[in-house]
Symmetry: C2
Subunit: 714 residues, 2 copies
């Protein structure tokens, strides 16, 4: 039972060890250190301002939650847990950004010694983020779990009539995800706007108008662009997955009690997380390469070796976890289904976005007939790519549900699928067990998070290392190796997005199941019927399906406006005497500031939409309709997120494919058409698409927390 | 009770009268007649080939339906009704195309006399299509209704145990929509591919590469382009709305019986259709203008006068229809809600797509920063525009449901909303009445079809008239007037699409409600519970939400491939000696042939997807899951269709706005960027978007027809 807090501590200690190793690596020349410092300062300025905004939000939300607690429609622990969730998620973002921004130029310097050294430094930086996220997430949950356990043991009267201490604990903890969800909202949406405003601004003026290369130090937005990589893919991605991690665990705990698994069932997700930490740490040791040839396949295999080994370890160890807790082997199938789904979706994401395969090459070819055909082919490719992830999630969900529910008789039992026959008296029990299985498959998918997030957070470090080499004018050999590491980062960014979306979808699914559980309890009915053709629910499904589109529209426009201000500033600075000649340093901080301010301002409207939509529907149409809203949003948001991420990824790689001397190469008309595709794809893949992960999870979390309020009005 | 067949006859006679008037109008010079003839021949060649393909499909489907009838899982009338549905829908397409292709140059000639004469000819042509569709649709249903009534009266033993003759009639008739749905599938998808292959091919080579104006007779694809306008917006749009018209009526009839309204309730949708015919005919008389100044506002007001008058007439007359049949004034609210929703959605469609408003102007402005920002702004605008239609449909649905269900006590009754309290013993009755109300609101929306379809089908005639003027080199004054008529057509095309999508959504909703009714009956249970969180249903919702994306991907690529062959052919013909000098006529028929063949070939895969998806899910996951699939598809398909239609429409108009000397005007870099947007929008608004209407309705219709089969396996 102590595996979870021990796992948490091990994760944090190992992260500290890795951070220490990175910190003592050679920081490079004075020039390199300056660049690193500028990026770090920019990143910290961004975090500082964002956390200030979040603090204001935090105080408001704390007040609302306290008010609800005061009126007895929410537990008094929740406002405080909201704050710890916000704090730990924010802290892991801070640590991740710190380490990422000291690793960038150290990676460049490391590459000068050996390719492996560069890979180790950048990957270790990613691993620090990965292990910090799982470590702090698990720590937060463990602290509360043991504290609540102690509290309810000490105050047996605090448990409401008809409940048990463990049920009360899991019910309260279910609401704890709201802190992580809130942090994720700001980090993902704000980070997405920051990074693309800087990127688009830097590219449009630098590359297109002035004709200077990417990462050229004369471009005022170049530091902002490098900061943006970290802000989006370290802080944003980290907070997103932190939310999924915590959300899936608390939902599974709550469903365990309903399904009658008791405390051992509730502990399973925490234990899985502990096992995942150990497996992830072992995996990180396997990420290393031999030799100095910067071969993509070799590098990719190094990462895959780490991830696959971790996954296999988890598959083996979780067998024993289940064996020694609930003994329900059906839930073991669910865990493996989740693990496998994550890996398969990653593979197909690569197929649809990598230029090694047909779909992306077809986009490059479409550049021959101009801008419009590139755009159309990318959209068609992204839309096509939605089929497989949806079908895989569908299969994983059904397998988890039916296997977990069919298991009868505890540790010595077996599968009995006849329990799902509606006439079977065990049907209700089977259904509840099945939902616990579905939630557990999300936990299974996310158990590799320590290492999968490491491969994601590695990306911006490698990208920045390339920028550092370019800005310092280092030799071709160094640039070749940093390019290879960067290129590897682009691949992991695409597959990481696939993983993030799929895990968000499964987490949201688990949260929606928990929401139904909660409203069933609140309604005082034995069971509630959420008929899909009840017009109130049906209409809510429609509205839910529309929200992701509205949300995307808002975030696309936000990037457009923010990029607009950035473009003006970069242009202005190019006109300052001496800048274009490289004699006068442009004012990097100003551009960072523009992106920072724009990100805070522009994320307001989408954030309000995400929080207010479920509350409004709950108050107007009632708690049952909210279930429809959530399902509608999840269904359309999941598909839209995959579409946008994969369209964006494939446009990006199609452009790079042309730059590798296909279809006319760099500077040709075809290349210009491909750049159009890439620019359209920028907000698709780095702002709107990933923000949808947040939308679908946050709306579910908000609904859970505010469910009590809906019942006051209905 | 004879109002429906009388209405049908009146519609057809009045259509014949209008057709006769158009036919005797001056056909213009020999050159104009030649062009008209070329377009007509092309259109007929297309129809001929398409109907051949449909015949093969028809025989196959007939065999399948007969096989099901043979095994007792479908009624023996259905295969025959399938054929009559196919035939009447096909016939109305044929008549509409005939009249449209004789009106084009007659409109040009008419404009030489007066603007009003041109408007009258082109609008009359549209009215022939509109009235033929409602006339033949109503005729088909009336014939079967009276034939079945006679049959069951003559053979009382043919009614199954526990059923009544009228219930049996409406149950059988519910399946009749499959003929119209099948025709719509081929006409919309095939027509959409044809028209955009020709359009994109003609534009990319003619306007962009060769630099000659639109509709230049030296362009080999120019006739195909003109044929395409008719194929897409006359035959395609007509078949789409024919399907909605028939589908909403049969669904309402079936739901009337379940709700206990008896034969009078079942007759209401037919009577409404009859009333709609009369109102539409009166409306057509009001579409006329005074004076020769081609002012858009004046022209638009002429059309609106017609539509609004018809709508008001229907609102008044349907009061008496309800009063003298069921007496349920709640259903009267439903009819008015549907009518109003159609009009309001039309208004907002105009707001989001017309260059008189901000959204489209913002797209034009985005051209200043290049191709990518035009694309992004258009996408953001389209996504934003989905909110209002969804919310309006939601409000109309809820208003219809609750008002219709709350009415208690027949003609002398009143509203009693407490019936919807779950503890009220009348809850089941209220819910059934409510669903009948929802279906009736679709009928209400579609009751104006005679005149709304007229305004749609008017568009291609006006467009062709402009082409005729251009190709014959007529004077500037004529061109100015035909341009104004064309421009009016563009506006009605956008609002017409909004109307088509909204009515498709409401029709699909009615069909899904009828599907639930049908599977409840087939399951032999008193009531069935389609819980949205039952994993089988939930997973089906996910798959359903994904299908529209997959379908769009297929249709976008189909247009791309077809346009590719067209581009090659046009280029080849430009290189033939004498063509560019205007001495040798290009081979127009060859281009028509390419589009025709491509359309038939490319529509296969999407068609198979649309038909097989519900059948596969029904066989694998069962009939309950199909309900989830349909709701998922409807929710995401509706939103996606609005997004694509409005993005496309606004790109088109942003381009035209720039051509009207804004932001640099024709030929500028900004204009080129806007052309990219327009080209991306072409398959969005004319192929993929409208095809989604078919997807959501057809899948529901297929599910209804094959429901019996699902139960054999589950």
């Amino acid at each position: 039972m102590l595996l979870a807090p021990i796992g948490s501590m091990v994760a944090l200690l190992f992260a500290a060890h890795l951070a220490w190793k990175v910190a003592k690596a050679d920081p490079g020349t004075k020039e390199m250190q300056d660049i690193s410092k500028a990026v770090r300062e920019g990143a910290m300025a961004y975090l500082y301002r964002q956390y200030k905004v979040i603090l204001i939000y935090g105080v408001l939300m704390f007040a609302v939650l306290s008010l609800m607690a005061y009126h007895g429609i929410q537990n008094w622990f929740v406002p405080f847990a909201f704050f710890t969730g916000l704090f730990f998620s924010g802290l892991s973002g801070y640590i991740g950004m710190q380490i990422a921004t000291i690793s960038n130029c150290r990676t460049t310097q490391g590459v000068r010694t050996s390719l492996n050294r560069g890979l180790r430094i950048s990957f270790s930086s990613g691993a620090v983020m990965g292990l910090t996220v799982v470590g702090l997430g698990l720590l937060d949950l463990s602290i509360w779990f043991f504290a609540l356990k102690w509290y309810y043991a000490a105050n047996p009267g605090a448990v409401p009539v008809g409940s048990t201490a463990i049920k009360e604990i899991t019910d309260v903890m279910l609401n704890f995800g709201i802190g992580a969800s809130s942090m994720a909202l700001f980090a993902r949406v704000g980070g997405g706007i920051f990074t693309k405003a800087a990127d688009v601004g830097a590219d449009l003026v630098g590359k297109v108008e002035a004709g200077i290369p990417e990462d050229d130090p004369r471009n005022a937005a170049v530091i902002a662009d490098n900061v943006g990589d970290n802000v989006g893919d370290v802080a944003g991605m980290g907070a997103d997955l932190y939310e999924s991690y915590v959300g899936s665990i608390v939902a599974t705990m709550a469903l365990a009690i309903t399904a009658g698994y008791g405390i051992s069932g509730a502990m399973v997700p925490m234990l899985m997380a502990g096992v995942g930490v150990l497996a992830s740490i072992i995996g990180t040791f396997l990420v290393r390469v031999k030799g100095e040839d910067a071969d993509m396949k070799k590098l990719l295999n190094a990462l895959r070796r780490g991830i696959y080994t971790s996954a296999i370890l988890i598959a083996v160890l979780s067998f024993f976890v289940i064996r020694h807790t609930t003994g329900d082997m059906g839930t073991y199938v669910a865990i493996v289904a989740g693990l496998l789904a994550g890996i398969i979706i990653g593979f197909f994401t690569e197929y649809y976005t990598s230029d090694a395969y047909k779909p992306t090459q077809a986009i490059a070819k479409a550049s021959e007939t101009g801008h419009a055909t590139v755009v159309l082919e990318g959209i068609a490719n992204g839309m096509m790519s939605t089929a497989i992830p949806v079908i895989i999630v569908a299969i994983a969900t059904l397998a988890s549900y039916f296997c977990a529910g069919a298991w009868a008789g505890g540790a010595s039992g077996g599968f009995d699928f006849s329990r799902f026959s509606p006439s079977n008296p065990k049907f209700g029990e089977a259904a509840a067990q099945g939902l616990y299985g579905v939630a557990l498959s999300a936990v299974g998918m996310l158990s590799t998070l320590g290492i999968t997030l490491a491969t994601d957070a590695y990306g911006p470090v490698a990208d920045n290392a390339g920028g550092c080499a370019e800005m310092c004018g280092l030799g071709k050999d160094v640039r070749r190796k940093t390019d290879a590491l960067d290129s590897l980062g682009n691949t992991t960014a695409a597959t990481g997005k696939g993983f993030a979306i799929a895990s968000a979808a499964l987490t949201a699914l688990a949260l929606i199941a928990a929401y139904k559980d909660k409203i069933t309890a609140l309604s005082n009915l034995a069971e509630i019927n959420l008929d899909i053709l009840d017009p109130t629910i049906l209409v809510a499904v429609f509205i839910g399906a529309m929200l992701p589109f509205l949300f995307c529209s808002m975030t696309i426009r936000a990037v457009g406006r923010a990029a607009g201000s950035m473009i003006e500033e970069v242009r202005r600075q190019f006109h300052k005497p001496g800048v274009m000649e490289g004699k006068v340093k442009p004012d990097y901080a100003k551009c960072v500031d523009i992106s920072t301010k724009a990100a805070q301002k522009e994320m307001m409207a989408p954030a309000i939409l995400a929080i207010m939509a479920p509350i409004s529907v709950g108050l107007i149409l009632g708690p049952f309709a909210v279930a429809g809203l959530l399902v509608g949003s999840l269904a359309s948001g999941f598909v839209l997120a995959v579409f946008m991420a994969n369209s964006g990824g494939s446009w990006d790689n199609a452009k790079k494919f042309i730059e590798d001397d296909h279809y006319g190469g760099k500077g040709s008309q075809n290349h210009k058409a491909a750049v159009t595709g890439d620019t359209v794809g920028d907000p698709f893949k780095d702002t709107s698409g990933p923000s949808l992960n947040i939308l679908i999870k946050l709306m579910s979390m908000v609904s859970i927390v505010f469910a009590g309020l809906f019942f006051v009005f209905h």
